[in-house]
Structure formats: C-alpha cells, structure tokens
Symmetry: D2
Subunit: 338 residues, 4 copies
C-alpha cells in the first residue's frame, strides 16, 4: 500500500502515520520527493485495508498494490478450475457447456417439452426459475417448490443437469435437493449471507454479476463463497447497467478475457439478459464464445408470446437449435468444442 | 399502453394482437398513421405488463403510460406521509429529522459516547450497524446481537430512537426487538423476500436506494413493503454509481424533489455515503436540505482514524455540532425547522 | 407522437393542446381511458419534436413513435451500404476490412516499417493520427501536416489506403488531400460543424461513437453527414464509458448487431480503444467479428514501449499477424472472409 | 509515479525499467516487498506520463501520485480566482452571479422582453444561444450573427452582460465582438482546438462540464485554456449522464464542493440542463447555492410553450423572479449574497 501525503504534510503528521503503521506490525518506508512525500508499506496489505488511512491528518490519498481477493485470484491458483457435475458435464474444460430453458418454470408439460427440445439441440443443463426476483410485487413470483419438482422430473426424463436460482437463505436445503447448480442472481450478488450459506453447502454455484458491479467486486463476491470452502464456483457475465437504453443491459464482453486473466474460475455468458432482445442473442452468444467464454446460458421458450417472464429475450426452440449449429463453427474457430 | 407496430406489419399480425388484447379483458383501439399503425390499450395496464408484447410478430416497441407503482404514488395518496416514532419524532413533517452515529457499532463505551454527543448537537435518532454488508469477506462484519444490545443501552441513556440495518430474513424478530426503524441497505434494495418480511412486520422501515437503481425501481421496492400493509416507509437517497471516481458515489440531488413530486413518502439523504469524503458531507447535507429533503443520515465517529468501517466519510463530533448549527439557517431559508 | 395527460388535466387544457397540434397542420385524436386521457398525433413527427410539449399545462409526458433519424435508417434504405475505396477495398461487403497502424504518426521510418508489416499480415488500410485529441495540453499533439505526408509516403510504398483523424474544420482541405477516409474521433462525434463539413466534402467518413453516446445519438450524428449528401459513412464502435474501471472503456458488443438492424451503414469495431489493454484486443476483435462487424481498427506499433501515445493498447506486429490468422477462422465461421 | 511489478517479474525486467527511468532524467528507487516489488519514481511525473509504462515486460500497473493538471490546481494558486467583468459584475466573489435568459435567441422583441424581466428580477448576465449544438440536423440551429446582434441590443437596453456559446473556431472573432463571456458547451468540452483559441483570446470563458467527463478531465480542459495564458475561466456543472432516465441528466452536486477544494477557479451550476424539468430547477438551484456554487445559469422564457429549444426546462419570468427571492434566503444562510 502506498500512502501519498499532501504537499503541506508536517513532520509530525508523517511520524504519526509511521507510528501507526508499525503498531500494526508492518514495515513503512518513507520517500521524500520534490513535490510529495510518500510512505510505502510492506507486509499484509489486508491489515491496512481496514484502516481509514485517508482520514489521517496529512494524507492525500491511498493507493492499493495488491488485489483484495485471494482465493479467486490466478496468483493463488494457476490452473483453470473445472467444475465437474458428473456424467461428463464439466464447466471450464475444452468443451463448452450450454444451459438453456425458460426464464421461469411455468408448468410441468411445458417444461418437459422445452427440456426435450434443448436437449436434442445439444444443451447439457436445463435452466428455469422456481423463485423469481421481480421488480414489481404484482408480477409472477415463481412456483416455488412445485417448480423445483417439475425441474426434477424434467431431469429424470432427459438426463439434463439442473441450474436454478436461490433467493432466500431459508430455502437452501430445499433448492439443494433438486439443483445440480445453485444460481445466485445478479440482484443477490452482494447478499453476503446468501453467499456464505452457499459457500458452506459445497454445491456448485453459478454466481451472476451484479448489474452495477465492477469485476473486482464480482471476484470479491466469489471470494465469499470460496472462503467458506466451496471452490465449485462458476462466474456468469450477464450485462451491466449503463446509460445506453436501446438494449436492456450492456453486455460487457471485455470482462470475459479479463476475468480469464485475473481468475482461475470458469466464466460463462448470458446473452439473453445481457441484451434483452431475442434478435441480438445469437450474435452476442457467438461473440462470447469467440472471446473465450466457457459456456452460455440462454433463455428458450416454446412460445415466447405466452411466457410469464422475459418473453422478449427468449428464443424459440428452432432458433436455439439453429444457433447451436452456428456456435459449433465459432467454437471450433477458437479451439473449443460444443 | 401503446403498441407501436413495424412499418411492415401485416393486417393478420394486427388482428392477432387485437385478439390477444381483447382476450385479456382490455379494450384496444387501432390508429393507422401515414408511417405507422399503433394500438392503444385502455384498462388495467398491469394485466398487459406481464405480457411480452414486444415478441409478438409485427411489434416494434411498447410504450407504458401509467406508472408501475400504485401505493407509493402521489396519485394514490395526495398528502405527505408522516412516519411517527412517538415522543414527537416524526419524519416527513415540517421539522427535519437527523439520524447520526457511527457506521458500525464497535463497542459499548464508544457508542454511548457518540450517542451523547450527537444528542446534544441536536440529532433525534442514533444510527449504527450491528450487521454490516462488506464487500470483502475478510472485513469486519459487525457485532451482531451484542451490537443491538449496545444500541438499546444507548437509547436508554439518551432517549434517542434507533435505526439499524437488517440483512437477513432470519434476523427480523431480533432486529425488531431493538430498532425503532429497520434499515434496508442499498445492496438489499432488491432483496425482495427481505422487503416482504419488513412489509409484514409493520415496523417503520428506512429503504436506501440501490446504487444502480432508477427512481422508478426505488419506488417499486417501496411498493413491495407497502403492498404487504406497512405504510411506514422512509426513503433514503445515498448516491448512485456513475463513471465519476473522484467521489465514492454521485449524490443524485435531482431525486429529492423528483420523488417529492412522484410519491407521498418522506425522503431523507445520506451525504456520508453519497460523497464518501468527510470534507464534502457538510456542503452536500446543506444541499439536500435546500432541495427539500425531510431529514439527514450522517456518520459521526469520535475518532475516525480508529473506525472499523467507513472512517473516511465520518465527521468528528465537533464538526457535526458545527454542521447542525449551519443546517439550521438553511432549513429556515426553505421554510423548515431542525 | 403520443401525448399522455395528467390524471387531473382539464377539458380546457386538452382543447388547448388539440388546437396547437392542428395549428401545426397535424391531426390529433383524443382517447379517454379510465385513468388517463392521451392524445395521439398523426403526421410528420419532426414538426412536433421541436415543440416543448411537456411544458403544456396538463401534460405528463410525451412518447415518440418514430425514429428521429431518417437517412441513416434501414427503413429508408433496405440494402447494406458498401463504401468503395477503389482497388477492391470495400467496407460493408462480405470481405472484412482491417485498418491497422500506430495511434500517432511519430516519424517516417517507423511509420513505413509498420505499414509494411501490417500490409504483409493482411491489413487493407493504414491508420495513424497526425492530429491527436489529448486530454492533457502537455501531451504529444501530433505532427500535423508532416504526419499526413508520411502517411502519403507509406501509402505510396505499400498500396494501403489511409484513414486519419480530422479535428478542426479549418484543416478539412489539407486532410482530404492525403486521406482515403476521414476519421471523426469519439470526442468530436457531436462537433456538428465538423460533421457538416465532412458531409459537404463527400470523402468517405469513419464516424467513431462518442464515449457516452447512445446508439440513437450515434445514428443522429451520422444523419448530419448524410443530410449534407455524403452517404459514404462508416460507423465505428470503440467502447463507452461506464462505472467499470478495470478496462479503459466498456466495449458495447450489443451495439454491433443492433446497429446492423437499425441502419444500412457498415459498422466496424476498434477493440484497441474499447479495451485499452493489448492483452484483451485479440479476444475482443474475435468477438466483434463473431457478432457481425464489417471490419476492425487495431493499433499496432513495432515497439509499444516507445509509442508516444496509447502504447498500452498497441499490439506488436507479430501479435497482430498471429491475430489476423486467428480471425480468418472466426470470419469463416460466421460466413465472412478476411 | 509508482510502478507495481507482477509477482513473477524478473531481475532483468526490473533492471530494464530502472534503466529507462534513469534515461528520462528521473530517479527510481526499488522496494522489494514479500509479495511484490515496486519502483517509485521521483521527479517530473509528466515526463513519465507520456510513457506507456504498462506495456513494459514485468509491469502490472502504474499508479499516479500527482494531479495531471497544474495551473488549474489549488496547489498552484491558493486564493480563489475572481473573474471581473467590470461594472461590478464579478464571478467567484461573495456575491453570487446569476445568468438567465432563453436557451436560444429567437427574435429581437422576445429577447429584449426576457432581458428586461430577468434584469428586474436580479440577474446580472443575459444568456442566449446564437449558435446551437443540436442532436438532430433537422432542429433549429440558431440565428448566427443576427442572434449576436440582438444580444448586443439587449445589453445596450438593460446593461446586462452577455454570455453566449462559441461552437466553431472560425467564429471566435465574431462571437468575441458581442460576448462578455464566451461559453464552451458540454459537447465541446474536449474540442481541444476550440479551447486553445479561447485560451489565446483572453476573453472570459465559461467552460461547461462534458456530460460524461470526470472532474479530472474537466479540470484538464480548463488547463488547456489556462495554459494559453487565459486565466479568466469559469467552470459550470450542468449534469452528467448516468443510467437514471427520469431526469435529463444527473446533477453532480458533489462536484461543486470537490472542485472548490481542488481548484481556485469559480464554479457555477446550471440546474436547467442538469435536471431537464422546470419543476426541479428551483430546488436544485437552491441546492447548488447551499453547496457553495458561485452562481447559477438558468433558462427563462416568457412562453416556454413556444420556445424553439429546451422549453421543458425553462422557467416563466414570474417563477424566476420568485426563485430569485427564495435564493436570497439560501445565499444568506451560507454566508453569501445575491
């Protein structure tokens, strides 16, 4: 950590900071330039992070040197993490994984219908929400456990793995019973108690990026899960909020190669939420694969006109099947399989 | 709701939409312009909101006419809501309310010390977190129930009311026992299950705006609480996330008069979080009052250098006392008292 | 255009608006719903756009139906525009076009060196700034006409076409003499007088998206050029400003397929500026091609350590050559050539 | 400047950087911590700023210590700059200055009518655009020199000073002839050639913050003017672009006290543009004064319904007069006059 002093910092102020740093068991070194004095601190940066150094008299600003996350960092673990769900479904390996299905689980028949279609098009995992975080209290909130049971049935009939969202710490046992992957939605990316519970549960977790979270905060939230001992974490870029209102969110494609550099965790992309328009899902899915994503999460609905949520961004099954074909060529072009 | 059709929409497509709208019990009217046909829909807009109209063949875009929130709207209730905590502490009345105290409750002695100081400077309510949502799993997470007990003791000694954050649905009974106002933090503004529980509890609730929430979403989250029957909701503007990185957040001062127009609920401002720098807290507190805020939430710490969280944005007690004096003049200038 | 009235709008206010609309030669129709009255207006929406309708007594909001741009719209021209530079260099055709070179022109020898290398790697057009918009007045501002002359020499030696930035209306004749494409930089996207001059000049223009411009504003700026009679406009997505600070900008990949839908103009991507980090340029270049971009603009420097501007985001020539190979596979995967 | 090395940086890489730094005439010092080696550099930071240090092998990131602007900084000049227009109109002094008038100059009679009204309400300066930067090429673009002549006439009749926008370097002599203050609009904040010309002209300049500019970039643009020798620069906060779409822009109230700390230049606020809604102008004008602004720029139109631009955000003269009365109380409350 580097402490930059104000041009008018006094010797007494400098000595006070040096004293405080030493008291924390760290080693300060002072360097006096022509325009500024700066104090470097060697040792565990985390000890200092909890100190409000900027409030000390004479301090102008404080610059961090180390990353605030550890377990999520590629410095900590060089090799790519591969999350293995069994039955040869692995996330982070050469083969890309595709999660597809409706936004919400609506009824049994419809779900099994979609499940069969996405399976035959090549998906590995069925997505579908039984608990839905909706902006409006008057919108459809999901079927709850009944929805989870339909997912289990679809799994039994198709062999697809299941990913579904957990919204409430009180539901973790129930959701774990049915899900192969527990999804933490964007709105809960900083619901820290939920992250801790998922960390303790050891179930594979799909952590979606908060719509206004930096990549650093995203990795800090992964760190919450990892630090409880659960290393089966899959990251998911799903668009961030910006001033652009022609699309629902702005798909941050930069984040994919960036996170691949910073972290060993697998990262997939959700072009359905990231664009909010079904017509853009295909091109952006291809872009994600070209940029190095380890997989995709795509909304598919047999009749988007009738969908109880997010119909605007859902693909018809036939469009999804066509997209899967097209993705194969792109995956091959970047040395992956699908 | 207005459905704008594509220039190439066919008669069959138009008829299909008209049929669907009627099936929902609504009344469509079709208007064919030179360049576009549009379909207006009269009746309960909410029925339509759950339909993914943009996915219908021939549709270009859908425009909302009504606001998606009802109970939170000034159309629903003309008069200002006043949240009455008893002992003459009212939020939303002519008298401005000031909530002050440390970011986190750290220990009993320090808390009571601050409580006495903010009380004597004119604050009505003591703030202090026993449960802290921290970006890093390695940062101080709060004292839990022990912290709540210290707050209760400080209340007993000073007569200040207590506002403190609830992070976990499982803690609602515990927090309710000690708090006069339950705070929902910015990171939980869309933790909908938490909102519903607070709605059922009937305790006064302070709802902080999410750092990337629009005013509309903010009022929708209030609607979650109201729709469960709890009308004692206080809104709090605490800064939004933008590209500007010279301050911690961007204090959205526009939101204060805007929300006063749109809603009957009281709104206060938190200039400590909105700026992240103690040197800016005073000017922005005055700005909030000048713009019509019903109160302020301000971080005060007897020794910000030693604070376990957010020391950079905390005022020393003497600065706070001075600010309270200065605020009086501004309040008077806009026809309020403090 | 749809005018939504306030719930308390009076008959007199409604009549006043109807009167005004008719006075403009337009046809209003009034529709009274249970909760709101709305007034639709048929005819040239542009006539109304210049009226501040929201200020009329009784009006709550005004909703646009038509797009504010015309000539740039795909409604106006169905087929893709292809900008033909001669010698078989076409932008917007099946073959992708690659513009490569240094951020700034620094000296003759270095420029010709780079030009030869990017040419042999497969680039069609040489980029290089002779006039540089720099945030700091103390930073290198470009070589001016001397730089343009070096570009001309590089063109002569390699056969590459030239794209270079115009910053000042007074320089248009000079820049036109040397450039095959005049670049309008992001900071000048709303320098309307510059746009008009480029519109009059008829030279092919590369219009970069402003860092905080919506897609709609981007197309409106293109409209400025088109409306002066110059249809040789190439759009360029180069990243937008968001809260994310781990990359220089956020590459808005959504914008590529979106603009392909909305407009007939070709669109290329600049992953060097959009990421600001050379390690991310390759993956994001591939993403752009996968998403449907008509070409790329990439910064290449033989020794980024010595570059006078933007070295952090420049590729070494050997990395660029390798990327060109990899791009070929991606282009083929999406039915294009390179 | 601090150069942070990667954990795996080699001795050879470190030596190479040290060599380069010394070659620039600067003094490096190397400090090897447990986790990282860092290199501090003492001397003129600007020399290094032009070097793309992040591209050097072994470098992870580069941290700046000094501010990139000099002449605009309060470190350079402790005392507040006061821009004196003569006739006792000073900007930056105890007395607040108010600039009021229509968005565009529309015709002579109307302008003189407004000028008289704002004068009698207490304004010091008449605003009005003769050249208008409009998003659409089809919108009213201003009257040009005819508009400037009307402004001159209004000045003669009322004694008000004139502020008007310059959009094109070619018009600087013409605009200077009529204006007391040359306004640089938000869209031209980084039109660096325009800034240089205004810097050479020595006329007082009102520099509006770009809608997506950081405070640092804003001060860098002021530096362009100052570095050409013109110290009569007035800054103007006019709202930034964020995700919030309920208001036209987000008024960054934090920027006012922040800039007062960082710079000696006077700063005023434009609540008309910052809110885009006339109903919010009053509360936000008061907020700006409470936060320490040196003045206000407010749009006033005798009949906003008929305004050729920005009618939605214009006050009627009677509302403006009422606001001026209310502002007096707020100004007094913060120790200023109006």
């Amino acid at each position: 950590m580097i402490i930059v002093l104000r041009p008018d910092a006094t010797k007494k102020q400098i000595d006070h900071i040096v004293f405080k740093v030493k008291k924390l068991g760290l080693k300060p070194w002072v360097s006096s330039g022509v325009e500024r004095t700066i104090i470097g601190v060697i040792g565990e940066e985390d000890v200092l992070r909890s100190q409000p150094l900027e409030v000390f008299p004479g301090v102008e600003k404080v610059l961090s040197i180390l990353k605030p996350y550890k377990l999520a960092s590629r410095d900590f673990k060089k090799d790519d993490t591969i999350v293995d769900l069994g039955d040869d479904v692995k996330i982070g390996a050469k083969n890309l994984v595709v999660m597809a299905g409706p936004c919400s689980v609506e009824n049994e028949k419809l779900l099994i219908n979609i499940a069969k279609k996405v399976k035959s098009a090549g998906a590995d995992i069925l997505r579908g929400g039984a608990f839905k975080p909706r902006t409006s209290p008057y919108a459809f909130q999901g079927l709850g456990e009944k929805g989870l049971k339909y997912l289990a049935k679809a799994k039994k009939e198709t062999g697809l793995k299941i990913v579904t969202e957990l919204m409430d710490v009180r539901d973790i046992d129930m959701v774990s019973k049915y899900a192969d992957i527990i999804q933490i939605g964007a709105r809960n990316m900083q619901n820290f108690n939920l992250l801790k519970e998922v960390g303790k549960s050891k179930k594979p977790a799909l952590l979606k990026r908060g719509m206004s979270s930096t990549v650093k905060e995203f990795l800090m939230s992964a760190e919450y899960i990892l630090s409880e001992g659960n290393f089966n974490v899959i990251l998911c870029e799903r668009g961030i909020r910006t001033f652009e209102d022609a699309t629902r969110f702005t798909f941050d494609i930069n984040a994919i190669p960036l996170i691949k550099n910073l972290s060993h965790l697998p990262i997939i992309a959700d072009p359905s939420h990231a664009t909010g328009k079904w017509g853009l899902v295909g091109p952006c899915a291809k872009a994600a694969v070209a940029a190095g994503a380890d997989g995709l999460m795509i909304e598919v609905h047999p009749n988007p006109e009738e969908a109880l949520s997010d119909g605007e961004q859902s693909l018809w099954p036939e469009n999804f099947a066509k997209l899967m074909d097209e993705l194969e060529a792109v995956a091959t072009a970047v040395g992956r399989e699908i």
